[in-house]
Amino acid sequence: MTEYKMFEGCTIGNRIPFIEAASRKVFDKLGVETSQAPFSCCPDPTGVKSFDNDAWLVIGARNLCLAESEGKDIVSLCNGCANTLRGVQHQLKHDSLKKDKINSELGKIGKEFKGSIEVKHFVDVLKNDVGMDKIKGAITKQLNGLKVACHPGCHYMRPAEWMESDDPMRPTNLKELVAASGATVVDYEELALCCGSAVTNAYEEYGMANLKKKMDSIKEAGAEVIVVNCPACFQQFDTRQRDLTKQFGTEYGIPVLYLTELYALAMGFNPDDLGLKFHRTRLSGVLEKLGI
């Protein structure tokens, strides 16, 4: 299989690296080869893009140039980074005025955006490049009976125009990948609802009201764990559940796992080597149930 440039992103790389640890273990097991590059911040499609779209384009394009210079595609561990790098590529490929402007800036640091590589979210690499058969073959510990609510997150599949990954309002890829572990995927009404990470940063009150809708729906479905594929969503669920209980009195206590953490457990890796103790929500109940 081809080697990808690993784009772990700021949040995973510099805040919650245990997600990268699980992802690298799973990649190794499945034969997904990666190498590093001096990437900067992607930058954030909810932050820097809102600050200045040209700043977002020029920094994003510089990152794409780094991968282009090696002729390698990028695998992103994060919805936000995948959304930015694909979005920058989309804008520059469809707007020649923007492309000329950004390339004249890049020229001053000796770079040029060509649009010659692809940016892939790791969920798509697993589903399309590795394939379900190979994944199923690598699972040694079936997670039978574990009830999972899936949350693919907005930027994995929206806007569909440039993410081209899944149905933007009725996503199924994450569900299929979770089901491959033997776990039971539970449906819930608010599957496509945003975790509210961005609005929570600006208006906590409204972000929490949104998160309550999401969490109530997940709780009602009887989920024992939430599986995600985005670090921003991960943090929103993992760190703010307790605040939600304080604010509204409802007990949730539903732990959160990254897809690659779920896979690492199903592939027989030791939970201690995955850094699961760094999660805020407690996973002891889930591990006990699975006999791990």
């Binding site: 700021c10 245990f18 499609p45 200045d52 920094i59 890049l106 907005c154 509210g196």
Partner: protein, 168 residues
């Protein structure tokens, strides 16, 4: 309330596709599906965050109405891109909202976290800078050290497009 024709032109130019924004017929699918509208508005949606009225005001050129009011009117958007998907006219609403946010920043308005993130990226080329405690944790987890980005290059790019002047 005054119309700002230059603002109107900028809105039209920002939309990457054809000028489909002109064909918005105010059907309210965006506001009906907006998660922030759901938790901020009253029954008649006269208060709170409303993507539908933002599109109307933007396409008419009501710059002051959009940028002069409460920040929630623009910054309530959580960038979930749901409106883009449900719009029957294929309007890329979130791109228009990006333009409105960029304009708000140019006036020195907008939430603190946007400025602090932009500053972190300018100073470190990362939204979340590397810290010794996390570097140790990476090592314990058997991870390679992050390859440091070229901060000078990123700063040069940001200075040359003038983004550094918008920082607080």
């Amino acid at each position: 309330m005054e119309l700002d024709f230059e603002f109107r032109k900028q809105v039209m130019d920002f939309h990457i596709g054809p000028d489909v924004i002109k064909y918005c017929y105010q059907c309210s699918r965006c506001s009906d599906n907006c998660p922030v509208t759901a938790v901020t508005t009253d029954f008649y949606t006269t208060t709170g965050y409303n993507p539908r009225s933002n599109i109307l005001a933007a396409l008419l050129g009501y710059k002051d109405l959009l940028l002069g009011g409460d920040d929630l009117g623009i910054w309530g958007c959580t960038v979930c891109d749901t409106c883009d998907e449900v719009c029957p006219q294929n309007i890329e609403l979130t791109e228009i909202f990006t333009f409105l946010k960029n304009q708000s920043i140019a006036l020195g308005k907008g939430p603190e976290f946007i400025y602090s993130q932009a500053k972190a990226v300018f100073e470190n080329a990362k939204a979340i800078p590397s810290q010794p405690a996390i570097e140790r944790r990476r090592e314990q987890l058997g991870l390679p050290a992050i390859v440091a980005p070229d901060v000078n290059e990123v700063q040069t790019l940001l200075k040359n497009i003038g983004a550094d002047k918008k920082l607080k």
